[in-house]
């Protein structure tokens, strides 16, 4: 890790220009990944990242450079290269860094780099065995495991000098069910900002069975009809709909450039009264939590939408300058290889009052999306699409036959307004979110919700 003197030297060297902001992000990360297939361990890999990212800005204009030549001379040379973007006399006084602050939350009991690889292997074996025992239709199981310990030091001209350690681990079970007609898969991937103790907190066998249950259910499912209909989206990973359709459009990354459907809508009604949405990077040990954001500001809880009213965007320092707003401490990045920008942390629709049963009973005909797959959105138009990993038809207020191949298509703006029932069973689930500043850990979440009408794409001609 870089010493204080070098950090100060880089910052002050950078400010020997018309720049008014300079930041150093130094990282040292150790990742372990294991994978199992055919019930045998295939790979056990370690990956070590080590590098420094330097950002220099004037107003909202910035330049970024990163390198893994981390000796003082190389870093000063990179700084000098970067600052040529802002030629001229110095505008800021000499920066002196204060006391180093350490992140203290999200404490970890068993650092994964201290755990013997054989213990990790046996975790994968348990998952594999349990997933296979679920059904004879399960023909293949892929289990993956990852842990990462990321040490960062962030120092900037904005009186920032912090150190944080982010520990995360996740297990992924992908079960494949097949017969002579079809092949379907199911995935389940629990994770958190924990050390190896995480695997004592969850029921590993049950998590593995869940992946197989989805695969087998879908193996015997009918094709989903194509039609516009009410859709009930279940709690947990169902929150991906909000993440994709609305969350990305509330990030300053697109809002600041007026490239979001929600630009300039603060204080306005953008969703149904039932919708309150939160982005909270402080939830203890949650997958998307950290002590500090990647500009060194303490993580926060942000109420994005309050009973349908747009209350807050997710803002980083530089986009804040463009928007005339202060940072909401939402800056994140995959690693030193990426300049940071505003991103989500743990984002969810908050609890409402309906029970799950009430929501189903009040739906005459529609789709029940029990497990969602992934999806994507165009932030400038809000057009989104999601695949439904596990779906069922709802007929006469009851869950009926399973259906496969369903896709939900719509726009975030419309969907938010059409949410007409919100359950009381909030649950979060883990995902990886990819965007301009790389792939980062993010929780999605929601209680069971109903969207009054949405386009469902499927392969079956409509017969109702």
């Amino acid at each position: 890790m870089l010493e204080k003197r070098i950090l100060e030297r880089i910052i002050n060297e950078a400010l020997e220009s018309t720049a008014d902001f300079a930041e150093v992000f130094a990282e040292s990360t150790m990742q372990n990944t294991l994978s199992m297939q055919d019930s045998a361990l295939q790979n056990a890999k370690t990956n070590e990242l080590k590098g420094v990212g330097i950002r220099i800005a004037k107003g909202h204009k910035s330049v970024y450079g990163h390198t893994n030549k981390t000796d003082e001379a190389s870093l000063i040379s990179l700084t000098n290269d970067l600052k040529t973007a802002f030629p001229g006399d110095r505008v800021r006084e000499t920066v002196t860094l204060g006391e180093l602050r350490h992140g203290k939350n999200h404490s970890v009991k068993i650092y994964p780099d201290t755990v013997d690889v054989s213990k990790k292997v046996s975790l994968l074996k348990r998952s594999d065995k349990s997933a296979r025992l679920y059904s004879k239709d399960i023909k293949q199981v892929n289990v993956s495991y990852m842990d990462t310990v990321q040490h960062v030091t962030i120092a900037s001209s904005e009186d920032i000098y912090v150190k944080d350690t982010r520990v995360r681990t996740r297990l992924g079970i992908n079960s494949v069910a097949s017969n002579d007609k079809d092949m379907q898969h199911g995935f389940n991937g629990p994770g958190g900002s924990y050390g190896f103790e995480f695997y004592d907190k969850i029921d590993v066998e049950e998590e593995a069975r869940e992946a197989s249950r989805i695969a087998v259910t879908m193996l015997y499912a009918d094709e989903c009809p194509s039609k516009t209909m009410p859709v009930v989206i279940d709690n947990g990973f169902g929150g991906v709909i909000f993440h994709e359709a609305c969350g990305h459009s509330l990030e300053a990354t697109s809002v600041a450039k007026n490239a979001s459907v929600f630009s300039g809508k603060k204080g306005e009604k953008i969703g149904s009264d039932l919708v309150t949405a939160i982005d909270d990077g402080t939830i203890p040990n949650a997958w998307g939590s950290a002590n500090y954001d990647d500009e060194g500001l303490s993580q926060k809880r942000r109420v994005l939408i309050d009973k349908g009213i747009l209350n807050s965007y997710m803002v980083d320092q530089l986009n804040g300058k463009r928007m005339g707003e202060v940072s909401t401490h939402s800056s994140r990045r995959q690693s030193y290889r990426f300049a940071p920008t505003s991103r989500m942390s743990n984002t969810y629709i908050d609890n409402g009052e309906s029970t799950f049963d009430e929501i189903i009973e009040n739906t005459e005909y529609g789709l029940y999306a029990r497990k969602m797959g992934g999806g994507s959105v165009n932030p400038s138009t809000g057009d989104f699409n999601f695949s439904v990993m596990e779906g069922y038809m709802i007929r006469n207020g009851k869950i009926a036959e399973p259906v496969k191949g369903a896709t939900l298509v719509g726009t975030g703006k419309d969907a938010l307004k059409k949410i007409d029932m919100v359950g009381n069973n909030l649950l979060r689930a883990q995902g990886m979110c990819g965007s301009v500043s790389g792939s980062i850990a993010a929780d999605v979440g929601q209680p069971t919700i109903r969207i009054a009408s949405i386009t469902v794409g499927g392969r079956k001609e409509d017969a109702s």
């Binding site: 040292s28 055919d38 045998a40 295939q42 790979n43 056990a44 890999k45 370690t46 990956n47 070590e48 080590k50 204009k61 910035s62 330049v63 970024y64 450079g65 990163h66 390198t67 893994n68 030549k69 990179l78 970067l82 690889v117 292997v121 293949q140 494949v176 097949s178 092949m183 379907q184 898969h185 194509s226 039609k227 516009t228 450039k257 007026n258 459907v261 290889r337 300049a339 797959g373 992934g374 999806g375 994507s376 165009n378 400038s380 138009t381 057009d383 699409n385 695949s387 496969k404 191949g405 369903a406 896709t407 298509v409 719509g410 726009t411 386009t455 469902v456 794409g457 499927g458 392969r459």
Partner: protein, 437 residues
């Protein structure tokens, strides 16, 4: 760095063979947004991956903390990694082929020597011209992304191979706005020759892509004859690439298992891998395992001729590696559907009525590479009497990729490559299932 001492330490520890891949990369990324330089990033990075065979198992690690003082530690880690492996799959570190093709045109001095100021000027000009091309252009962004890479592959069996490539992408992204609608679009040129960055056509295309989509709406659900645009078809191919990888075939994760030498596509369709294409950063004379690459047809006139193999899958099946061992797995170099004779205009005319699909969204989630099924959000235009008519959005196109390959009506002549060098001409498919209104 001299890796001989590393090989020595590994040998003493009991390793049968060790291989290192060292890569040194530099990049520049520029982005201009509404007349301002919005992004200027530079990078200089080195990475090292090490593989070694210990008691018949392959250990693997990678690091950016590259220092000779770490040699002992690396060997320890590598041993730990190998000992954890249970798979009985064959492991190979390759002694090398007798010759490797030298490839011209993958590294350009001209790109490297063009000043950053000159590169900035290209991007600024492009953005300004896009912005002023049409009053409905509300947001305009232009970008330039350049990378150069030097790779060295070296192993304890005496093999040393090196290559240097560079490459750049110049592109523009627009949002067109009307009173009640906004639509985004982007287009790009990729090459390693500065003179290829002719922006005239690029501007025209990207502006048209954006503005002509304004007012797009779904069509009625039903069966439609469809032309999928070249680059969109190329992206769709990317979503089903794993079907052609021997690893997936051997593990029962591909529906192409047992289909070698059988017809799997329309007889006019050939899927070709050409590792020697000029100006592509994917072009190479050797793969990541040191195997000499060669040009081949994966599908030849509808018949599946080979899967893509690396050393492991080839040994398992008793065949030769096809030179597709990259990054520990299997990947193509430049892979494309061979173009036919008809240009897009002729294809539209032949079809008469139907849909022209210019974009498919959700390729990473709305597809199953195992079953081949896809159900994807699509946009494009209606085609009436051979002409593009109304813009279309929020429809879903559903089929199965293998069924699609068998039901191709016409293959166009307009081959285009994605950023990852997967290529396709425009394809016409009849009676596709579309869900809309």
């Amino acid at each position: 760095m001299n890796f001989k001492p590393l090989f020595e330490i590994a040998k003493k520890t009991g390793f049968e063979a060790v291989q290192v891949k060292y890569s040194d990369s530099k990049s520049i990324d520029l982005e201009v947004f509404k007349g301002e330089l919005d992004k200027h990033e530079i990078s200089d990075s080195q990475s090292l991956t090490i593989e070694g065979i210990y008691e018949g198992k392959m250990g693997k690690m990678s690091t950016e903390n590259i220092d000779e003082s770490q040699f002992e530690k690396w060997v320890e880690k590598l041993k730990e990694s190998a000992q954890a492996v249970e798979s009985k799959d064959p492991v190979v570190i390759y002694e090398g082929d007798s010759s490797y093709k030298e490839i011209d045109g993958v590294y350009s001095e001209a790109l490297e020597t063009l000043s950053v100021e000159a590169k900035k000027k290209i991007v600024f000009e492009l953005e300004e011209r896009v912005r002023n091309a049409d009053e409905r252009i509300d947001i305009s962004e232009a970008f330039y992304s350049e990378s150069s890479k030097h790779v060295r592959l070296e192993n304890s069996k005496g093999l040393t191979l090196e290559k240097r490539v560079n490459h750049a992408v110049l592109g523009a992204h627009v949002v067109a706005k009307s009173e009640d609608d906004s639509r985004s679009a982007f287009d790009y040129i990729q090459s390693n020759q500065p003179q290829d960055f002719d922006t005239e056509q690029l501007i025209e295309k990207v502006v048209k892509r954006g503005t002509s989509m304004l007012g797009a709406a779904p069509v009625e659900s039903g069966k439609y004859d469809v032309i999928i645009e070249n680059r969109t078809s190329a992206s769709l191919l990317g979503a089903f690439l794993s079907m052609f990888k021997a690893e997936n075939v051997q593990k029962g994760l591909s529906k192409l298992k047992g289909k070698l030498d059988e017809p799997i596509a329309e007889t006019t369709l050939s899927l070709v891998e050409d590792p020697f294409m000029e100006k592509s950063p994917k072009s190479t004379g050797f793969d990541g395992e040191g195997v000499a690459t060669y040009k081949k047809s994966i599908i030849d006139k509808g018949i599946l001729k080979t899967y893509m193999h690396n050393l492991k899958t080839a040994k398992k099946e008793g065949v030769q590696s096809t030179g597709n061992g990259f990054g520990g797995g299997i990947s193509p170099t430049n892979l494309f559907i061979e173009p036919g004779n008809k240009n897009l205009e002729e294809m539209l005319e032949d079809m008469g009525n139907g849909l022209f699909i210019t974009s498919l969204q959700g390729l990473h989630s709305g597809t199953s590479a195992i079953s081949g099924d896809f159900s994807l959000q699509a946009s494009g235009y209606t085609v009436e009497n051979g002409k593009l008519q109304k813009p279309v959005s929020l429809i879903t196109l559903s089929s199965n990729y293998l069924e699609l390959l068998k039901s191709i009506d016409t293959i166009g002549s307009d081959l285009k490559f994605t950023f990852s060098y997967l290529g396709s001409p425009s394809l016409r498919i009849n009676k596709m299932s579309v869900s809309g209104k």
